[in-house]
Subunit: 363 residues, 2 copies
Amino acid sequence: MSTRITTIYRVKAEPATIEARARGIAVEQSVEMPVEPIDDPFVLENILGQVEEITEIAPGDYEVRIGLASITTGYDAAQFINMILGNTSLQDGITLVDAIFPADIVTAFGGPNHGLEGFRSRVKAKGALSATALKPQGTPPATLARLAYDIALGGIDYIKDDHGLADQSYAPFAARVPMIAEAVSKAGAKTGIATRYLPSLNGNLDKMRAQIALARECGIDGVLIAPMLCGFSQFQTIKAENPDFLFMTHPSMAGGPMAPAFFFGKLMRLMGSDASIFANYGGRFGYSPELCHQIASLCLEEVQGQKPCVPVPAGGMELKRVPELLNFFGTGVILLIGGSLLSAKQKITAETAKFCDAVRNFS
Amino acid sequence: MSTRITTIYRVKAEPATIEARARGIAVEQSVEMPVEPIDDPFVLENILGQVEEITEIAPGDYEVRIGLASITTGYDAAQFINMILGNTSLQDGITLVDAIFPADIVTAFGGPNHGLEGFRSRVKAKGALSATALKPQGTPPATLARLAYDIALGGIDYIKDDHGLADQSYAPFAARVPMIAEAVSKAGAKTGIATRYLPSLNGNLDKMRAQIALARECGIDGVLIAPMLCGFSQFQTIKAENPDFLFMTHPSMAGGPMAPAFFFGKLMRLMGSDASIFANYGGRFGYSPELCHQIASLCLEEVQGQKPCVPVPAGGMELKRVPELLNFFGTGVILLIGGSLLSAKQKITAETAKFCDAVRNFS
């Protein structure tokens, strides 16, 4: 008997059709063919999806729980995504809202290698953490390095590449990363704060391996990665090969028929995100405070021995919001400030210091 | 001056906010920071996204055209997706409906290596093509090979793995593929039809490379790949390394804020899909006949020297629908039949022959 992942979908359907609809999902996400001609008892008992429960939330709106056999994932992360949502992503009126992972799935993917404790200990902090991103793309490496130096002088904990910094001609990874790493390290020697630089990995597996090897040579011990761009198998591999690295995950391309709370709070954590960036409320994305609170709680709560993943609310962060946001999220958080810091221009070191002080001195 | 990709979004917005909304997309998908502090003229002229046009489709419903610099993609397929939709996928009320690719983008990604002509010539056909999928997952390799043999005896053109067949313990790729390839080849020697087997690639780049090398040893010259699962960079790499192979693309996880016509008809083709599977009308997915017609037209139309990609409508195909569908799609098509063929059980060779005859003899 295989263990089963309980996948939970929200389904819009006429009351008369919901049972057939639920069976349809169970079939689509497992054998993907009519059940009648299947005569192999192994397939019927151990592979075919099972409708576990149908609950009416409101008229025409249902929660459907399906049991999907863990062995169908082959314990590969991309195949796992294929099995829990795959073809059903093409159906109108269905969202994957949650899933319950059996122990073998948790063991296979393993969750964060470091999580909150890792993000704190690298910079010798105990409370909330500060972070920013190097922008805009199009800026040459020397200018990015100078910007990183000025920000690091303000005492920030983490500086990441903007997710738009990939391997473009105007600032190739191999030219950019050593210069920025050196600049951040030089500033850290002055401030006494071990500011960390998280470069953004991109491209195929060969390229990511070369990038992380180069980062390692530069004394870097954490990176930014966007699993929906590179694929979850590639993230799984890079994480397994670099158990000493911190992985901050980026939400690019995460829109779609997967509920954000599940995606950012559970799936990213299961797959090994040490810190999961998501769209903060009150910024330029439409996430509600309730949703952000739910994501943060899921990232941090005790669950099946997985280390806590740091929630990273981002998008529209400003200095004046620091107390509000730390009251709201608590101190198990990284506050990621972007554009509003960069707007300080020549005063960026001083503005960064104000932001970091506000984060560090919150109580 | 960089060339620009014109990305076309459908945006729901109040009339008073649409201009700011459009500028917001242009910024989000390029510099991702306030424009005011940017003083580098290279960034302002060559990197910053430009609002090209805003057209009201209906009250509160707009088409927005944004010019995004090609150089920001670094000509990497995943970074290309990051730039054309990335963070904007997290916004409510925005769909990427289309894009116009400049010549450098078309040259970089290149479109299909073989396309329709390749799919026809491998099996010495001139009209519509027939295909089916091996199912259900959970079936052991010897049984899948026997099933493939019985189907191939019916004279089908292409037999692909179900996209659920990955590398699970009960039918590992390395055990399954040689057995199925041999069975299909044996049947082909009897029928005189060069039936091709397309195994499903899965896992990370190392694994896919090993899989395609094994497939090659078995005399296989085409595969199934799901770019939204493995990531577009991995597909780009595998395609570049295997210019003699046919790539049939699978739609798993393609639901989300990208219009299906663009995704299946343009993006898959640009990235090198030789045959693009999508959800057919009248089956278990909700695509309309108009949408399916649009996808097929986009796959096949003359565009910037790209070879035609074969449209592959799938999902709910039945023998009796063959004339209807060939009248609708024309003969530049692969008709993919799945469950309804498998329901024939012991009579599967005869049912396959009927299906293939209906496809081949259509005029």
